[in-house]
Symmetry: C2
Subunit: 173 residues, 2 copies
DNA sequence: GATATTAGTGGGTCGGGACCCACTATAGGG
DNA sequence: CCCTATAGTGGGTCCCGACCCACTAATATC
């Protein structure tokens, strides 16, 4: 917890600006010096803004995740997508449905094991993902605006390590 | 977007471990080198784990935020809490209700302006917040396990700057 | 072949968060 | 005084994301 009333800005150079929504309404330092809290809050912002862009196209984060997985790893059975992305099989079915209906992916039964449905991305899907990736980077520029290129690299690398460390208890997209 | 199939680990020293849930199931590099994505994902993990701890006590993140605000800034009218924390007045009323019922805060009408209800924290509330803060730090140690103390400082400071930069479009606790 | 197991699907539930409206009580300005 | 704005409250709604169960089809095991 931060020391009582005087809003100490923890390990920070300068408070820079009074900052938040309303003038003179800073968030509690007790929260602000929990990286946990900042992570959660900033992460939520990032998520929300990205989701917002996707929503304009009627897509959700999972759609993008699935497309990315297909581009990066090639055609896969749904079970593989499920394991890789950690979402519910039932939910994936719905996502795949939607993507297939829109022509971004194709599904075909695996001839070796006809229980499996192999999903592959179409050209339209590739094009879509490219656009989405662009949008994601645009959002990133917004969110990371206060950081210079070097700092963004550092952040990226720290986050990646943190990510790799987390037990991955089946959390979101 | 990351280059096609070979799962390039972007601007990172070493992939360290194969890492995720199931053996041989890495997440798509296309996503992993979006800081936006990592932020969202890691943030979600942090949030979830913290919320989990709070839930054991029947609390939600907002409860903690309110307590923190009261400790850091002293007794305030609900309207101040609303503005500071950016939550709906109606929702705050419910949170305050619950906290008051549990004896963590007290409410009293402001004598200067009897429309206002001034909320103040009790000793029990202070004690609770201290505990919650401890739990939050425990979660933090879990989540940030891969980072050493110096790196955590860097992360904290970067996140704080990013946070300050975000327009704060009335997002979560 | 009978049985268990795996892949996919459809149809739900559940809880949380954000939001909104109608209503009361008080304050303040003309 | 009357009228508008503000503070708080008590109802809701809506949209998610996560999860679960029941069921079919195909395969694997013995």
């Amino acid at each position: 917890m931060a020391s009582e009333n005087p809003p100490t800005a923890s390990a920070l150079p300068e408070p820079e600006k009074p900052s938040p929504d309303l003038p003179g309404f800073e968030l509690p330092p007790t929260l602000l010096d929990l990286s946990t809290y900042l992570l959660s809050r900033v992460g939520k912002t990032a998520r929300a803004r990205l989701a917002e862009r996707l929503a304009e196209r009627g897509l959700r984060l999972w759609d993008m995740a699935v497309l990315a997985s297909l581009v990066d790893f090639g055609p896969q059975a749904q079970r593989d997508l499920v394991r890789r992305l950690g979402l519910d099989p039932s939910d994936l079915a719905k996502v795949a449905d939607q993507l297939a209906a829109a022509g971004y992916v194709e599904r075909a039964r695996d001839r070796a094991d006809r229980r499996r449905v192999s999903v592959s991305i179409t050209d339209a899907g590739r094009a879509l993902l490219a656009e989405l990736d662009g949008q994601a980077r645009a959002v990133q520029d917004e969110v990371l605006a206060p950081l210079d290129a070097g700092e963004r690299q550092v952040l990226q690398s720290l986050l990646l390590r943190v990510h790799r460390g987390t037990g991955e208890r089946r959390t979101g997209p």
